[in-house]
């Protein structure tokens, strides 16, 4: 399972390099890959650090490339993020453990379903947002986006703290 997580981290780090093959992006990608690798092998916080670096690399690649939004690619990156976090976490739990019969097949099916559902959900949401932005032109769009992000994060935090968010 750690191998699957390693492949997914390579995909995550490689996607921005495919968008903009520059030295800065590759350097940031290398750092992200090392951190992800260490996170998969040693400690989950390093994996989070690696993904944070990979998102920075993705942002840098998009900023350097410019052009219209690449929403399909972004959905793919999002699905890879979900799978990477879940496979790495499962790999950590399954390391040096007896795996019961049919567990791996069931887990694969669960991940496939999660990838499909979250991917379709994200595609639908982004398509809806594209249509809405084409029809409604809001003034101060960046400010509204920032407020929307803040509201989203606060809502998620409140929803999770009601279910006892774990300590870092």
């Amino acid at each position: 399972m750690r191998r699957a997580a390693a492949i997914l981290s390579v995909v995550l780090v490689g996607a921005p390099i495919a968008i903009t093959p520059s030295t800065a992006v590759a350097g940031l990608g290398a750092a992200a890959l090392v951190s992800c690798g260490l996170g998969i092998l040693i400690a989950p916080p390093l994996l989070v650090g690696g993904i944070v670096l990979a998102l920075g690399e993705y942002t840098l690649a998009l900023s350097l490339a410019g052009g219209p939004p690449r929403l399909a690619g972004a959905v793919l990156v999002g699905v890879v993020l979900v799978l990477l976090l879940e496979t790495a976490d499962f790999g950590r739990r399954a390391h040096r453990a007896t795996i019961g019969p049919r567990l791996m097949a069931a887990q694969m099916r669960a991940w496939a379903a999660a990838a499909a559902l979250t991917g379709i959900g994200a595609l639908a949401a982004s398509a809806g947002a594209s249509v809405a932005s084409a029809t409604v032109r809001l003034p101060w769009a960046p400010a509204i986006a920032a407020i929307g992000v803040a509201i989203t994060l606060v809502t998620v935090a409140l929803a999770l703290s009601a279910r006892r968010l774990p300590r870092a």
Binding site: P44, L47, V48, V52, L55, G56, Y58, T59, L62, S63, P69, R70, L71, G73, A74, V75, V77, G78, V79, L81, V82, L85, E86, D89, F90, R93, A94, A97, T98, I99, G100, P101, R102, L103, A106, Q107, A110, A114, A115, L117, T118, G119, G121, A122, A125, S126, A129, P142, A145, V149, T152, L153, V156, A157, L160, R163, R164, L165, P166, A168
Partner: protein
């Protein structure tokens, strides 16, 4: 069982927040879209039933009693009445057990009415009563976002007896007891070992007539026989202190030697007793037979170093525990001077005394990093031990220095000729 969110949720939220912040600050919608699957994935929390508790556990051990170094197969059977998404089981092993094959952690998925067997093998590295006890269980949802924990106590008592050391020759006792045994006693009577020849007197049995002597001297002579008697052997175990690293401390070596000696003497029909010298005494009265061997082994299982300022006199040990005619085999690394004082006391009281001293030096050397300083310290220690051994031997005490890495039989065999000469005298 209450389900709680796992640290994975925190990771997801952190990454999602970072992605949203990057998206807003860079003005790229892709980053917002990229973290959408993460946020949508959080909607699965509470939908995959991590708090289900319709499952039971049972544990079986391949053997409840084993010797050190032997392996035991632990079989845990998980049965589910309701479907279980992902069950993680963990059995922490006590330090006296080592995982030999398989894993002591398992992940299972069960359908309703299904049973799964989980096996692993442990090696028993040190004597003692081991309780496998508690199994920790954690029920996960499929995404790993939520988990519920519980612990289940299962019976799993394992008795690990000291490793048997091969021993064919044992120190012979100087004095015998009244019961039939395997030693040739100096006293004459019924037996098979021929002794002196004397003239026939009325009442002697015809089968005792020595025909060769009778024909030569033209007068009837009979052959007398030595009686075969048993002996009382008391093993005195020094548990005041130990040196070395578990499972190869001087106490472990002493307990193995005590078990081997007890087995050997009991096989010869001797009565064997045990005194644990640990400040306050603990003892087992001399006895014989299989049941008594079990009793001795049970006491040896519990033998452990117990620090105490209390020092009791050997004179306080009752005669029924330490009979005056008994052969006392003291097993001690000779580290604590209190035990040496007890040995001198025993020797002064005229006990037939043999000291078996498992040397702590090789055990300590094995546990420490090699260095010139350690070598020098060990050499000085060896000289000091030799000086103390010489002092004890000058008092007439038979001392057997034993390197626990070497066979016990070889160490006891080296001391046998000198002791045989002393016993013959």
């Amino acid at each position: 069982m209450t389900a709680r969110l796992t640290p994975l949720v925190l990771s997801v939220v952190t990454i999602a927040a970072w992605g949203l912040v990057l998206g807003v600050s860079s003005g790229r919608a892709e980053l917002v879209v990229a973290v959408l699957p993460l946020l949508l994935g959080l909607l699965r929390i509470g939908r995959t039933g991590a708090a289900a508790n319709g499952w039971t556990l049972a544990r079986a051990l391949s053997a409840p009693r084993v010797f050190e170094g032997e392996r035991v197969t632990v079989t845990v059977t998980v049965s589910a009445e309701q479907p279980v998404m992902l069950l993680e089981l963990f059995e922490p092993l006590p330090p006296t057990l080592r995982l030999a094959s398989g894993h002591n952690r398992g992940l299972f998925r069960l359908r309703a009415g299904e049973s799964v067997e989980w096996r692993y093998e442990v090696e028993c590295v040190r004597r003692g009563r081991v309780n496998l006890g508690t199994v920790h269980a954690r029920l996960w949802d499929r995404a790993g976002l939520e988990a519920a924990e519980t612990s289940t106590g299962l019976p799993g008592q394992l008795r690990v007896y000291p490793r048997p050391l091969p021993l064919r020759r044992l120190p012979a006792p100087r004095r015998m007891q009244a019961f039939v045994g395997n030693y040739v006693a100096p006293s004459l009577g019924e037996g098979i070992e021929p002794g002196e020849i004397r003239a026939f007197v009325p009442g002697d049995r015809v089968r005792h007539v020595n025909w060769r002597a009778s024909l030569r001297f033209r007068q009837l002579f009979v052959t007398q026989h030595h009686q075969e008697r048993n002996a009382d052997v008391v093993l005195m175990l020094d548990t005041l202190t130990e040196a070395g690293e578990a499972p190869d401390t001087t106490l472990d070596a002493s307990v193995r030697a005590a078990a081997a000696l007890a087995t050997g003497y009991l096989a010869r029909k001797d009565r064997v007793g045990l005194i644990e010298y640990c400040g306050p005494f603990r003892w087992v009265r001399p006895g014989s037979g299989r049941a008594h061997q079990e009793r001795l082994f049970e006491t040896l299982l519990r033998a452990d170093v117990m620090f105490s300022y209390v020092t009791q006199e050997v004179a306080l040990v009752p005669r029924r525990v330490l009979p005056p005619q008994a052969l006392v085999i003291a097993i001690s690394p000779l580290i604590d001077p209190r035990f040496e004082k007890a040995l001198l006391d025993l020797a002064a009281r005229g006990f037939d005394l043999v000291v078996l001293s498992p040397s702590p030096i090789p055990l300590v050397r094995r546990a420490t990093r090699p260095s010139a300083r350690a070598d020098l310290a060990c050499r000085l220690w060896a000289l000091e031990r030799r000086a103390r051994a010489d002092a004890l031997q000058r008092l007439g005490i038979t001392l057997v220095d034993w390197d626990p890495a070497e066979p016990l039989e070889a160490a006891l065999g080296g001391a046998s000729p000198a002791r045989r000469r002393r016993v013959a005298r």
